[in-house]
Amino acid sequence: MSFQPVKFYQTGTFTVGNRLLPPEERSVQSQEKRYNSINSGHRACQGCGEALGARYAIDAAMEATNGRLICANATGCLEVFSTPYPETSWQLPWIHSLFGNTAAVATGIAAAIKVKKLKGERRNIRVVAQGGDGGTTDIGFGCLSGMFERNDDVLYICYDNGGYMNTGIQRSSATPPAARTATTMAVGPEPGNVFGQGKFVPAIAMAHEIPYVATATVADLRDLEAKVRRAMEFQGARYIHILVPCPLGWGTASNETIRIARLAKETGMFPVFEAEYGEVKSVVAIRHPLPVEEYLKPQKRYAHLFGKTPQVEVIAKLQALADRNIKKYGLLDGGAR
């Protein structure tokens, strides 16, 4: 657990707010006057998990830095739906980089701040970089690894919706096996994305032994906020990877976004943990263990697994991946290691 959950206050820390909690223990999102770093009027699809995840994360970072934050944003849905020139939804200094160089741009901003400090700047201004999974795990990966390796003072946030959503749902190296995308169609002997390819960037980030790496989902706000807050306590390179379901790309109803993210975590398909200097420090335990079908079935990108003859072998392979996560991270006992 990234934070001390409150028990027995009716909803404890499960809900966004809780009138029974003392004000200082309440979430950033529950505040009547919260930052709303990404404002209304953005053009994200109905129920977009990325828009939600970005507000959760950036608001928490704003809170942690007292609003002294600069943001670099890779190309992708998040940038396109928020900032069609000359309009923007962002309520903080925000720069749009290229698709692949956000980490490098953020490094530059951090370097500029360092110089300004040497010249007398007293305010403690921090830098956050953000992008989709395509911009992070594929094209931006070199810049990101460099930023990690140099331990630049940047928090990099990846919003993982498992594909290049903005350009029409193409496969990325974060697209899960068996998922249908425009470039991994549900045809042929092995429909959907192939098994055995792709990468899990949080693990690669940990291999850089940077101060802080964490995963989170939009289904667990308190955990997400705690991780952003914790990340801001470190100087140096930090990485948070947030699972953000995409109703359009995953083929889910717009009201299901949070439920799907929750199922990803509860089935073990997406491990939620945090690590410091390359070591896992805490794990969010599965609360009600469920088979992977519960997660797969509501998503049209897996519809080919549940046709007239269900693809039981493929489902079993996905279950094996979940089981591996559960074992590796100790997801059933909360990593009581």
Partner: protein
């Protein structure tokens, strides 16, 4: 047009983009009827008083509770809590211990001396209330709250009806009963004891504008049992009645060492448990049907069995002799009715106590024009008014569902109707909300919290004394228990809708004021409705 180098346009905000135009469904905040409230015969707003208890404001909780029911300490002991049977939390782990929290609040109120308050101006109207059982007390309380003068006439030397002369002390200690009645008198209810009303219409002539009848049902039903002269056959109601005020052993009913109780209701159980406490070595209940068919509640049967009472199911008493009785075995026929088998058995018995139900004594109602009875019950309309204008009735005399809780509900309903009638109006109850069913909720959000177990008196003392069997909750676990409430169907300001909206289209109005949708930006994704824990948001199609 003084812009920095290379900037030609004003910074534009996305607020100009009203994404609300995308919407095909719109969210609506609704209030639904919690199943506990729907199931409460006294019409308590359980959820609302639990809400205050959750924050530790017990006085506010007690005040919310007593808006509907003036007897929480009593009710927290004797109510059969149909609310818990309906509670949605049973689908998560176990029902909320509503009854236990109610008792805690009732006891807390007695301990702290909380009193009733009313802001209603005196109307100058006087209402005669006949009987000080729960029906009469409740009617008198609600009439007083409305500004009328309620005058109770009670035949017995002490008030409370069956709560005093029926329900044994080990379930309802008399200091609790006395405290709640005393509070009603202090509130302004006039109580005249040992004042039996013989004729309603004559009594009404003494300056009353209306009358509420709550005389209960006190005449024990008999069964024909051939019996020898030396056999001892008595009825449960008089045994329990004699227990009241019986301080020394010599005043206690003499039942002997081996007591047989005939009947299968709660009264049978209570009298058998009483006999045990009075020193009977054997207390046997004889009942003609099966345990499943027994009208007594399962937990009471269980408690009786624990105390060493035995039960002979599927048996009837054929005859009673000096020191034994003859029992005939029964068998259920195809339609579930017990039929005699011709198989007999003798069991030793020093006395037979009949607990076969009660009838109402309606002697005082002779010659009331328009008033109708059916099978010994006074017929009333939805507002508890009899066929005679201005004469209302409730409790055991007016229905077959005979509990303290139903009686309290009748008293309240009648008081409202009397109030309207006195103004020349008819009371119309406000429309009820749709039921808050479990399927509409999102139980993920509730903390895992198993039900609190109440302490129970040890078995030795349960067999020999009249000390209260079931203990109460202390503050810590009452608070815990209250917080297990899921607030089914009504916003409890958890901020989920406010938090989960990807478009910041929910406006938080501040503590106690709930939320508003900003339809300029709400795209109608429905996330708020799906993630609302208690099902207080519904999605409806847009008009066009």
């Amino acid at each position: 047009m003084d812009k920095p180098f290379a900037i030609t346009l004003d910074p534009g905000s996305s607020l100009a983009n009203h994404t609300g135009s995308w919407r095909t469904f719109r969210p609506l905040y609704v209030d639904r009827l919690p199943p506990c409230n729907a199931a409460c015969p006294a019409g308590e707003n359980i959820q609302s008083w639990l809400y205050h208890a959750e924050s530790g404001d017990y006085e506010k909780a007690w005040r919310a509770l007593t808006e509907n029911n003036p007897l929480p300490a009593i009710m927290g002991r004797v109510c059969y809590h149909p609310c818990e049977g309906a509670c949605n939390r049973q689908h998560v782990d176990a029902a909320v211990g509503i009854n236990a929290v109610e008792r805690f609040l009732g006891d807390e109120a007695i301990r702290r001396g909380w009193r009733f308050e009313s802001s209603a101006a005196a109307t100058g109207k006087r209402v005669l209330v006949i009987g000080s059982g729960p029906a009469g007390l409740s009617a008198a309380y609600h009439l007083t709250r409305m500004g009328h003068q309620a005058v109770i006439h009670e035949a017995a030397p002490l008030a409370g009806g069956m709560m005093r002369y029926g329900i044994p002390k080990y379930r309802l200690p008399r200091d609790v009963l006395d405290a709640e009645i005393r509070r009603l008198v202090e509130f302004g209810v006039e109580l005249r004891l040992q004042s039996k009303v013989m004729n309603v219409l004559a009594a009404m002539q003494e300056g009353f504008d209306a009358v509420f009848l709550g005389v209960g049902a006190h005449i024990a039903k008999r069964a024909y049992i051939p019996a020898g002269d030396a056999s001892k056959i008595i009825d449960a109601i008089s045994v329990l009645h004699d227990m009241e005020g019986a301080q020394g052993d010599e005043l206690r009913p003499m039942l002997g060492r081996r007591v047989v109780v005939y009947g299968g209701g709660n009264t049978a159980i209570d009298v058998a448990r009483t006999a045990k406490r009075l020193g009977a070595e054997e207390a046997v209940i004889v009942y003609r049907r099966t345990r499943e068919k027994m009208p007594a509640h399962d937990f009471e049967v269980e408690e009786a069995l624990q105390e060493g009472i035995s039960i002979k199911w599927l048996s009837t008493i054929k005859e009673a002799g000096e020191d034994d009785i003859m029992v005939e075995k029964m068998a259920l026929d195809a339609s579930g009715f017990p039929q005699p088998t011709g198989e007999y058995e003798r069991i030793p018995a020093d006395s037979v106590v009949l607990a076969l139900g009660q009838d109402a004594d309606l002697g005082l109602l002779a010659n009331v024009p328009g008033l109708a009875t059916d099978k010994g019950l006074v017929q009333v309309d939805a507002g508890m008014m009899t066929g005679h204008p201005g004469v209302f009735a409730g409790g055991d005399m007016a229905g077959n569902e005979r509990t303290v809780t139903v009686a309290v509900g009748h008293g309240k309903r009648a008081a409202r109707a009397i109030d309207a009638w006195l103004k020349g109006e008819t009371y119309v109850s406000p429309p009820k909300h749709e039921l808050a069913t479990f399927e509409r909720m999102n139980p993920w959000y509730y903390s895992d919290a198993p039900k609190t177990v109440r302490p129970v008196l040890d078995i030795i003392r349960r067999q020999s004394t009249f000390e209260e069997v079931l203990g109460g909750l202390d503050e810590g676990n009452a608070l815990f228990e209250a917080r297990r409430c899921m607030s089914c169907g009504n916003c409890f300001e958890c901020d989920n809708c406010y938090g989960v909206c990807p478009d910041n289209a929910v406006i938080k109005l501040g503590p106690g004021k709930r939320f508003l949708f900003n339809f300029d930006y709400c795209k109608g994704c429905g996330m708020c409705a799906t993630e609302c824990p208690c099902g207080a948001i519904k999605m409806v199609p847009e008009e066009n």
